[in-house]
Amino acid sequence: MTKRIGIGILALLISVSSAGAQSKAWDILREIVLVPGVSGHEGPVSTFIQGRLPAGLKAEHDGLANVWFTIGSGRPHILFVAHSDELGWTIDRITPEGRVRVKPGGGILPQTIEARLVLIHTSRGDVAGIVSPRPGYDERPTEGETQETTFTAESFDIYLGVATEAEVRALGVAEGDTITAKKTITDFAPGLMATRAVDDRAGCAALLDAALRLRPETIKGRTITFAWDVQEETGLFGASELAKTLKPDYVFAIDTFVSTDSPLESKRFGFLPVGKGAVVRAVDSSNVTPKPEILKVMAIAKKRLIPIQVGNSRGGNDGSVFLAGGAIDIPLSWPGSYAHSLIEKIDRRDLEALTNLILAVVSDWK
């Protein structure tokens, strides 16, 4: 028993030796996940992040709402980047009948928001609405008639409780306003939850927590940049803008690992269980991480007793836009079930392992 306690204390000491305090990533995540920030409209998220950065750090930002800070000097230059935008819609037009139509896209299965609550983020505050169920949803098709099965962003409209365009405008709603699904947090158990926008607010929270726990003396002759970029979901635009000025040697993109830890997915690949540790994305749709770099991360994690998994899955990452400039992209993640849904699932242990891994890389990466 005494031996077990001793090992536990040792593990704790080793894992936090590069950190300044206990992780608050989980609490940060539960706050930041509720802040609206559809791609191209990340202002509130950027404000949230800047408002919580340590006072001594000199944060920079650009016109796109990318936020970053750099600390230390020398080589290598290591960039950590998480994206602050989330999936959602923008208003295309308002109909004479007082319904709101949205622009194509969204990135979420439209079937999962049919007859669901959404929030329209207007200049005067949030306005609640309901995505109208498809016409005839409760009717059986008559003989010879086929029921429409497709339900897309182009086809649905949003009901706000009013019946004219003028009434919609009187609520403050206008073309270009953004829309997000109404977020609720499902708490399966302490430290295990599901909600919308875990992708990539978990990455933002991990990076912010790491910034808060960062000990400058661990950087030692290297340059470290932490960045929260924008418009990842719509084409890595924020990262592309950063890549014009930042020329890192290594990029650690902090984003979801699309795990197949779910009853509906094939376990042929991507089966990294939720709750079993941070993740190195060895291969995704935008990058193949060099094996020696994977081994370096694994060695650091092992030394620090940080639980870690390696796998391949789908989806891109912001680090990939720095490849052409000569950087090596090493995406770090947590295993996330139900990616791009209203119920993205995450385990606190994975998030804290990820934060500890970021700090360990800051300290130990050569």
Partner: protein, 372 residues
């Protein structure tokens, strides 16, 4: 036996959490309180307990079995029965996989073909004997979808592939959380206030109508009543009796046997705002009859509406399973239905002035001279 114990425990938990809420409350707050209580066919005990707790002090509750409850208002011999429902449509736990996921079934057939499809990728609540357990209905990750899987798992989603994830890793772990077979599974009770004094939420229509009856009873406390009236909240109204021909709702059939009413007003919900818009949300309660002909009961309801200054809409439609048991002459029956937009979806929309009008009409109807 085990199921009965589970239900008793669940009821005890419900009673414990509502003990402090008894007393007269307004229509909006009663609606909010009932809305928060899950109630599906066969699992109405928590909602019935909540209604009991909200009834005026001194009200004597009568029962018709299966969970149906009622309160009688004295008056000249009758009775007139005003019958609402306790149960909404929902799902229940039908199994637990070795990996700890829950499978689902329904206690009754769905109200429409897409009813189950709304579950895809949604949060749900399992009402267990140990209290509510939160879960989500699994969905495929969009990054991993092939065209074939999109067709079968998204567009073709059904209960066959509906798995509820409660964060458990084994059947044992799921059971340790309190989950048992037959536990009701519903959407979280998230009430949203829309513009135009409209509220939205899952199963809101039936809860609002039930709240209306509580509110009517509260309003009439201490006042004179015309004819003896039984206000009842029936369990198992979505369950049709088996046999040839029309299938009356079990809960309604039992209410008829129990109270033998001379005339009956069914307080129900009706899909509104579809197609040409009729019945219109905001246009007042809908008086539904099987035949478009006058009757003493219809005239009395119309007169009560006029006296209350409340709008009414009229619809001729076949008797619903709720109305069927009362449809044999000389007894009279009409349905007074609350218009609900997006009925039987996770976001039913109720216009508050329709609900208020429903209450005003019933209150006036019950008062002296109202039922004549």
């Amino acid at each position: 036996m085990a199921h009965r114990i589970t239900k008793t425990l669940r009821l005890a938990a419900a009673l414990a959490c509502i003990a402090a809420t008894a007393g007269g409350a307004d229509l909006k707050s009663v609606t909010k309180e009932l809305f928060a209580v899950p109630s599906t066919t066969g699992n109405e005990e928590m909602l019935a307990a909540k209604i009991r707790a909200l009834l005026p002090k001194g009200a004597t509750v009568e029962e018709a079995g299966l969970g149906t409850i009622a309160v009688r208002l004295g008056g000249t011999p009758g009775p007139t029965l005003i019958l609402g429902a306790l149960d909404g449509y929902g799902h229940m736990v039908s199994g637990i996989t070795p990996e700890g996921y829950l499978t689902l079934d329904r206690p009754v057939p769905p109200p429409h073909a897409r009813f189950d499809a709304f579950l895809l990728g949604q949060p749900v609540v399992i009402s267990t004997a140990k209290g509510p357990v939160q879960g989500v209905v699994s969905q495929p990750a969009i990054h991993l979808l092939t065209q074939e899987r999109r067709r079968t798992q998204v567009e073709g989603f059904s209960l066959e592939i509906a798995y509820v994830d409660i964060g458990a890793r084994s059947e044992k772990e799921a059971r340790a959380r309190g989950v048992e077979l037959l536990d009701p599974v519903t959407y979280p009770a998230l009430l949203t206030e829309l513009a135009g004094d409209q509220w939205a939420g899952p199963s809101l229509g039936v809860k609002a109508a039930a709240a209306g009856l509580v509110s009517v009873l509260e309003a009439l406390t201490g006042k004179a009543v015309g004819e003896e009236t039984v206000l009842a909240w029936a369990a198992q109204t979505k369950f049709g009796a088996r046999g040839r021909g029309a299938r009356p709702a079990i809960g309604a059939a039992r209410a008829r046997s129990k109270w033998q009413p001379k005339r009956t007003i069914i307080v129900d919900v009706i899909a509104a705002g579809k197609g040409d818009g009729f019945p219109f949300p905001g246009g007042g309660p809908v008086l539904v009859q099987a035949k478009d002909e006058s009757s003493a009961l219809r005239r009395a309801v119309e007169a009560a509406a006029a006296a209350a200054g409340a709008p009414l809409q009229f619809l001729t439609a076949p008797d619903s399973p709720m109305a069927l048991p009362f449809a044999s002459p000389p007894a009279e029956v009409v349905t007074l239905a609350l218009p609900v937009r997006f009925l039987n979806t996770p976001s039913e929309v109720v216009t508050l002035k329709d609900l208020e009008a429903l209450c005003d009409i019933l209150e006036r109807f019950i008062q002296p001279g109202g039922a004549k």
